[in-house]
């Protein structure tokens, strides 16, 4: 359904994407995971016919994106990163306008259908200017679904939504993905793992890893980092933590905040909390922390020139995946002590 070969795009001197290749077949939800500026949006813009690549080939739904751009655009539903809405139109007017541009018949029924799909039936006559960010996101999604496209390209579809809406949109995407091809980008690892059949990790215009979420999950092991905070006096606390078996490193981050890393495979949090409390300190926070996605990729690419053994990259990735997984929405604040 989506076929990309050696796609490259330069903006002046800057190379936004650098010879990437991938494919997605029918019924597949392909996740595009990477930090901001990695080239996700650029790739999507090429696939939707917004702009041509500098070199390389891409086809969507069997049509070349340059040669048969209009055919591609007829078959793709696209939700850009900044949701393109006309604030001075009502939701209904906007969707009707888009449906007319796509030459759909029974426009009113189709608009009603997509509004129901994104749970916006009751706001059809409201002006887009008065909608919240989450609602705008859903109107944008409705627009992408109007013509029941074979291929859906969604650029950060859950950004700006509240947790309940995120859950809803993810469910919706999974539903839609059963009979369509979906390419979605995100910078949230857990989202990619939850929703996608396959994940592409992209950084600085290159695909650095590709795997199924199951494999990513199975590779999760490795060391973990935690942050710990106490109230009041911290004299001698660093040593107490260091003496707990399984602790690799401890660093005082602040006067009352410590970060420590543990050896893989064992959960030392009960031991640490017990040690801290029994030594008379007031433990108020103990929670896992992770590298941000940007940091992970920085490290991955910094290692690149000297060609690391795969194990090293894997280890780094695993650490990152682990930490990311442990802190989705609720931010895992475990209080012990």
């Amino acid at each position: 359904m989506i076929q990309v070969e050696g796609l490259t795009k330069d903006y002046g001197l800057r190379r936004a994407i650098d010879g990437i290749s991938f494919h997605a077949s029918k019924g597949e939800i392909l996740g595009f995971l990477g930090p901001n500026g990695a080239g996700k949006t650029t790739t999507m813009r090429i696939l939707t016919g917004y702009m041509p690549p500098t070199s390389g080939k891409a086809s969507v739904a069997g049509y070349d994106v340059i040669e048969r751009s209009l055919e591609v655009r007829r078959r793709v539903g696209y939700l850009p990163e900044t949701v393109p809405l006309y604030p001075d139109m009502t939701v209904f007017e906007y969707l009707k306008f888009m449906a007319d541009l796509r030459h759909l018949s029974q426009v009113e029924d189709k608009v009603d259908d997509v509004l129901e799909l994104v749970h916006m039936e009751d706001r059809a006559d409201g002006y887009i200017a008065n909608l919240s960010k989450g609602m705008r996101q859903r109107v944008g999604l409705a627009q992408a679904l109007l013509h029941q496209p074979e291929v859906l390209i969604l650029d950060e579809p859950t950004i700006g939504l509240d947790p309940a809406q995120i859950h809803e949109v993810r469910d919706l995407i999974q539903d839609l993905g059963r009979e369509r091809t979906i390419l979605l980008s995100t910078h949230i690892l857990s989202e990619a793992q939850q929703v996608c059949n396959r994940v592409l990790i992209i950084n600085k215009g290159k695909i650095v890893a590709e795997d199924s979420p199951e494999n990513l999950r199975s590779r999760i092991a490795g060391s973990q980092r935690f942050r710990l905070a106490v109230l009041g006096e911290t004299e001698g606390l660093e040593k107490i933590i260091r003496d707990v078996p399984g602790i690799k490193t401890v660093a005082a981050n602040d006067r009352s905040v410590f970060e420590f890393e543990t050896t893989p495979g064992q959960d030392v949090r009960p031991l640490v909390s017990r040690a801290v409390v029994s030594a008379g300190y007031d433990l108020v926070e103990l929670y896992p922390i992770g590298l941000s996605l940007e940091e992970i990729f920085l490290q991955l690419t910094r290692d690149e020139p000297r060609a690391p053994e795969m194990a090293e990259v894997d280890d780094l990735l695993n650490t990152a995946l682990d930490e990311q997984l442990d802190q989705p929405e609720e931010d895992a604040s475990e209080l012990k002590g």
Partner: protein, 243 residues
């Protein structure tokens, strides 16, 4: 064709819900009213019957300033709010988008123009035995053709920037250059100024349409200027994709 109409209809409707468009239309009509009153009183005092020229003269000049204010939004706003991405990834050809935008703006300008008919009608009532119908018809035909070119240039310039103010002043600048480009030829004498004189808006209006003469070459001038501007606008939109 259908896409052109869909886009034009949206633009046209939008003008009627935009305070800026009403403001421009009101200013145009108010200023025209003042000049009209002055001209009519002046011609009565000088004891010659006023004709449609007292309406056409100020109208044409005011259009130079009103049109950029109406057209500046057309593509600049799409770029600013990111909706251009929506239109360029919809199954719409670039020229359909440009022509649709032009048509929407042109239809709105026509509605303003329709309101200015009040002045000739009024004039017809007070002048005996009525105003020169020839000048009325040829004058308004000229204004419509002229307006089509102005709106087309406005759309083309609007595709260049995402800032409406920049679009306004650039458009106005282009208009004024095309309005005054034959002036230097008066100092240059008869030879050499042919091309500049041909390019000039006013050369194709004041000596013909304004005098009650309909000349095919003037019609061709305005139509080809419109087509050229729309073509350049389409090129400019296409070039955005390659940037």
């Amino acid at each position: 064709m259908r896409n052109i109409w869909t886009i034009a209809a949206r633009e046209f409707k939008l003008y009627f819900s935009s305070p800026a468009a009403y403001l421009v239309a009101t200013m145009l009509l108010v200023v025209m009213g003042i000049i009209f009153y002055t001209n009519v009183v002046g011609s009565i005092l000088n004891q010659f019957p006023p004709n449609t020229q007292v309406v056409l003269g100020p109208l044409v000049t005011l259009l130079l300033f009103a049109t950029p204010a109406i057209t500046m939004r057309l593509l600049a706003e799409e770029q600013r709010q990111g909706t251009l991405e929506l239109l360029l990834t919809a199954p719409v050809r670039d020229y359909e988008l440009i022509v649709g935008k032009w048509l929407g703006g042109f239809l709105f300008m026509l509605s303003i123009l329709a309101l200015t008919w009040l002045y000739p009608i009024f004039l017809n009532q007070i002048v005996d035995p009525g105003i020169d119908q020839g000048i009325l018809v040829s004058g308004y035909l000229g204004v419509i053709l002229f307006m089509g070119s102005l709106v087309a240039i406005g759309v083309a310039v609007s595709s260049l920037f995402s800032n409406q103010i920049a679009v306004f002043f650039t458009t106005l600048g282009v208009f004024l250059v095309l309005w005054l480009i034959s002036l230097p030829t008066q100092a240059m004498g008869a030879t050499g100024g042919e091309l500049l004189r041909y390019l000039d808006f006013s050369e194709h209006f004041y000596s013909t349409f304004y005098q009650g003469v309909i000349d095919l070459s003037d019609i061709i001038y305005f139509l080809s200027l419109t087509a050229l501007a729309l073509f350049l606008g389409t090129m400019s939109l296409e070039s955005r994709r390659w940037r």
